[in-house]
Amino acid sequence: MAKWMRPYGDTMNDGKIQLSFTLPLNNNAHGEACAKAYAEALNIHDVAVVHAETLSDGFTFYVVYGTASKQIDAASIKATEVETDVMDKATIETFIETHFNRPLTFIGASTGTDAHTVGIDAIMNMKGYSGHYGLERYKNINAINLGSQVDNEALLEAAVKHQADVILISQTVTQKDVHIQNLTAFIELLEAEHKRDDFIVIIGGARINHSLAKELGYDAGFGPKKFAFDVASFAVQALRDKKKNV
C-alpha cells in the first residue's frame, strides 16, 4: 500500500523543511531574493530567509525555512541493509565456539593514502568505541590492526601470511572519490590473485554503506553508528554460510 509523505514540522504532511547554504553573492536585498528564488527552484514554497550572513566578499550564508511541495511514496523505497542477525559480544564468542573449532582471524587496515585510523580503531582496538569493545577484546577472535596508509598489496600479503578469515578496510578520506578508486583496486587485486573467495571482505567508514559495498564487490559495508559487534555478527555468519556451501 502506498505511503505518501512529506517532511514533518508539527503537523502531518506540512512539508516543513530547513536548509542552509552559501551563495556566491554579496549580502544585500538582491542576494536574499536570490536565496529565496533558489529555494523555490528546489520545489520549496512559502520560503522564509530567516538569516543572512556575510562570509567573505561576494559570499553570503543563508538559513531558509519553507514548505516542501514534493512528496514520496515511502512504501516504494527500498534500502539495502546488512541482513544478518545482530548478536552481542558474548553471543558472537559462543557462536564461534559452536560453528568453528578454531579462533577466527580478522585483519584490518586503513588503506591507500588514508592516514585516519579512527574508524579501524573503533572496530578493532581493545577499547572500542562508545562503550562497545573492539574485536581485540573478543574471545576466539584474533584481531590484527595494521594501522593507516597500508598499501592494498601489503594488506593482502599480511592477510595471506596470517591466514585471515576476514579482511576489514576502513576509508575515511572521500574527497574526489579517492576511496572508490582505492576500494575498486583492492577487489581487482584479489581477483587477479584468485583470492577473492579466500576471505570475507568488509569495508567501513563515515561515507560507506552496504549498497556501495555490494556494488564494489565487497561482502558488506558499514557506515556510521556501527560497532564491532555489528561487523563481527555479519562476519561470523557469513563465514558459517561459506563453510556450509563448500
Binding site: 552559501t22 567573505s56 585510523t117 596508509q149 578520506v173 574527497q175 574526489k176 556510521p224
Partner: protein, 515 residues
C-alpha cells in the same frame, strides 16, 4: 583560577624528560639522514626539478649515495667542488643532474674547505632573518587564544579563497592541511598544485602564494594572519627550511608523531626533528606538537597522563635544539567522551594543568574530533564547551572545532559558524577565570594531581628503560614500533669522522649568541 601543584613533582618530571631526551641526543649527534642532507643543499640555494619532476636536491643526494660516500655529508663534496670549479651550488646540482659532473672524484679524506660554503649559506640566512624581521614588525601580544582554522581543498587557489574568507571572519591562523600521504613522500613536490586529497601539497611555491594572499588580507584587516604547515614526515627538515624562507609562522612538528602514527623509523624521526627544530628556532617559527593525536586513538580519560609526559619530552627535545619556550606550541585536545559525567571538569583539569606546567609555551589546544558524530547540533554544543575550556584556561593556539567534523572537509560556512561560536565564548567568558577558585580536594584539583603523578611515574619508567624501548612497548597511543623497522630507515646513516653540517653549526652559534 589556579591549581595548587607540587613543585617537586613537576621538577622531577622535567629531570626525567631531560634524561630521556639526552639519551636520544647522543644518537642524533652521531647520525645524519638523506632529508638532512637535502636540507643543507636547499640552504645552499639549490632549488628546482629535472624534466621528470625530481628535485635537484634528491638527485644530488642519490648521486652521492651511488657514486661516492654520503656519510661524509653533502657539505664535504660541495665545498670541494666549489674549490675546484667556478660553479655555484645550483650549477653544480644541475650539472650532476645532466651527468656533467661526478662528485666521486672528491671522495677522499682530505679535509673539505667548508668555509667556502659560507657565502651561500649566509645568503639564505639573510632571507630567513629578513622574513623574521617582517613578522616581528607585525606581531602584537595577544591575551585571548589565537583562532586557528584549517583549509583543505586540495587546490592552493581555492585554499586562498577559503583562507581570505576565514581571515575576514576573524581567524588569526590559517593552516593548509597537507594532502593525505605526503608525509610518506621522500621528496618535496615542486610548484603550485591544484590536485590533492583531503589537503594540498606542501610545496615552496604553495607556501609563497598563500603567504602573499595572507599578507594582503593582513593589511586590509590590519592584523597579522599567521600561516601554518607541516614540518613532519620524511621531509621534516626540508619543509622547515622552506617554511623559514617563505615566512611560515608555525609548523606542526612533533618528536614522536611520525614514529607512532606514520610508522616512520624512530632514528630517522629523531635526527630529522632535531634539525627541523634548530631551523625553526633560528627562523622564530612556533612549532606545534602532536599530543592531541594520542587521544584520538586512546581514551582521553585513561591516557591523559601520556599527553603530559609527551609534552615534557617534546619540551626537552626543543630545548636541545636551542628553541625558546615561547616557540613551543605543546599540544593537547578536548577529546573527552561526552557521555562521561563531569567531563567538562576533567577537561578543565587537563587544560589548566598543561597551562601551569608550561607557563611560557603557546599551548595548542585541539577541538573534539573523535566523539563528533555527524549530529551537527550536538557537535556545536561540544565545540562550545571546548571554546569555553580554552578561554577559561588561557590557551594560546585554539584550533576551531567544525560542526561538520566527521562529515566533510569544512565548507566556508562551517568555518564562519565556528568563528562565531568562538568569538561569542571569548567575549562571554573573557575574565571568568579570574573570578573563580578551584576547590581544593574537588574533582578538578584531584584529577589534575592524579594526571601529573601518573605522568611522573611514566616519565620515570621511560627514563629508566629508554625512549626506544617505550616506543617498542606501545606506551603512546597503544602503537608499538621497532627501532630497526619503519619507513625511511634506509635514509639514515652514521656520520663519517670528517662529517660537517655547517647549517646546524652556524644556526646553533647564532642562537647561542642571541641568548
Amino acid at each position: 583560577m589556579k591549581l595548587i601543584l607540587d613543585q617537586n613533582t613537576i621538577q622531577a618530571c622535567r629531570e626525567a624528560a631531560e634524561k630521556i631526551a639526552l639519551d636520544i641526543q647522543n644518537i642524533i649527534d652521531d647520525h645524519s639522514t638523506v632529508a638532512v642532507e637535502r636540507t643543507i643543499l636547499r640552504m645552499l640555494g639549490i632549488d628546482g626539478i629535472n624534466a621528470f619532476d625530481i628535485p635537484y636536491v634528491n638527485l644530488v643526494v642519490e648521486h652521492i649515495q651511488t657514486h661516492a660516500d654520503i656519510t661524509k655529508g653533502v657539505a664535504h663534496y660541495f665545498a670541494k667542488a666549489i674549490e675546484n670549479t667556478d660553479f655555484s651550488p645550483q650549477q653544480i646540482a644541475e650539472k650532476i643532474a645532466s651527468n656533467a659532473i661526478d662528485l666521486s672524484i672528491y671522495d677522499n679524506e682530505k679535509p673539505a674547505p667548508i668555509h667556502l660554503l659560507t657565502p651561500y649559506l649566509e645568503n639564505t640566512e639573510r632571507k630567513i632573518l629578513a622574513q623574521k624581521a617582517t613578522r616581528d614588525q607585525w606581531t602584537t601580544p595577544k591575551t585571548l587564544p589565537d583562532k586557528y582554522v584549517i583549509v583543505a581543498t586540495g587546490n592552493i587557489y581555492e585554499d586562498i579563497e577559503q583562507a581570505i574568507s576565514a581571515a575576514k571572519k576573524g581567524a588569526d591562523i590559517i593552516a593548509v592541511i597537507r594532502t593525505t600521504g605526503q608525509s610518506l613522500l621522500d621528496y618535496v613536490p615542486y610548484g603550485a598544485t591544484t590536485e590533492g586529497f583531503g589537503g594540498t601539497y606542501a610545496t615552496q611555491e604553495n607556501f609563497r602564494l598563500m603567504r602573499k594572499a595572507l599578507d594582503d588580507v593582513s593589511k586590509t584587516e590590519n592584523r597579522y594572519i599567521k600561516l601554518v604547515n607541516y614540518a613532519s614526515g620524511l621531509c621534516m627538515p626540508e619543509i622547515a627550511a622552506m617554511g623559514a624562507i617563505e615566512r611560515l609562522d608555525m609548523m606542526l612538528n612533533d618528536s614522536l608523531y611520525g614514529i607512532i602514527f606514520r610508522d616512520i623509523n624512530m632514528k630517522r624521526t629523531f635526527v630529522d626533528q632535531y634539525f627541523s627544530r634548530v631551523i625553526s628556532a633560528f627562523a622564530h617559527i612556533t612549532i606545534n606538537t602532536g599530543e592531541d593525536n594520542y587521544l584520538t586513538t586512546s581514551d582521553a580519560y585513561d591516557h591523559a597522563h601520556t599527553v603530559v609526559a609527551s609534552q615534557f619530552i617534546n619540551e626537552q627535545f626543543a630545548k636541545n635544539a636551542a628553541m625558546k619556550e615561547e616557540l613551543m606550541g605543546l599540544g593537547h585536545a578536548y577529546e573527552i567522551d561526552p557521555n562521561i559525567e563531569n567531563s567538562f571538569s576533567y577537561e578543565i583539569a587537563q587544560a589548566q594543568l598543561s597551562r601551569q606546567l608550561f607557563p611560557n609555551a603557546p599551548l595548542k589546544y585541539m577541538p573534539p574530533t573523535k566523539h563528533m558524530t555527524g549530529d551537527i547540533f550536538k557537535g556545536t554544543m561540544q565545540n562550545t564547551l571546548f571554546n569555553i575550556a580554552s578561554v577559561v584556561t588561557k590557551q594560546n593556539i585554539h584550533l576551531l572545532g567544525m560542526l561538520t567534523e566527521a562529515i566533510h572537509t569544512p565548507f566556508m560556512s562551517d568555518r564562519a559558524q565556528a568563528l562565531n561560536n568562538a568569538n561569542y565564548m571569548y567575549k562571554a567568558f573573557k575574565d571568568f577565570a579570574d573570578e573563580i577558585r578551584i576547590e581544593e580536594g574537588g574533582i578538578i584539583d584531584q584529577r589534575a594531581k592524579s594526571v601529573l603523578n601518573d605522568a611522573k611515574k611514566l616519565l620515570d619508567t621511560i627514563a629508566e628503560e629508554g625512549l626506544f624501548k617505550t616506543l617498542e612497548k606501545g606506551t603512546f597511543a597503544g602503537v608499538s614500533r621497532s627501532q630497526t623497522q619503519g619507513k625511511g630507515l634506509d635514509g639514515v646513516f652514521k656520520k663519517h669522522q670528517t662529517y660537517h653540517n655547517p647549517v646546524i653549526d652556524r644556526m646553533l652559534k647564532a642562537l647561542k649568541e642571541a641568548t
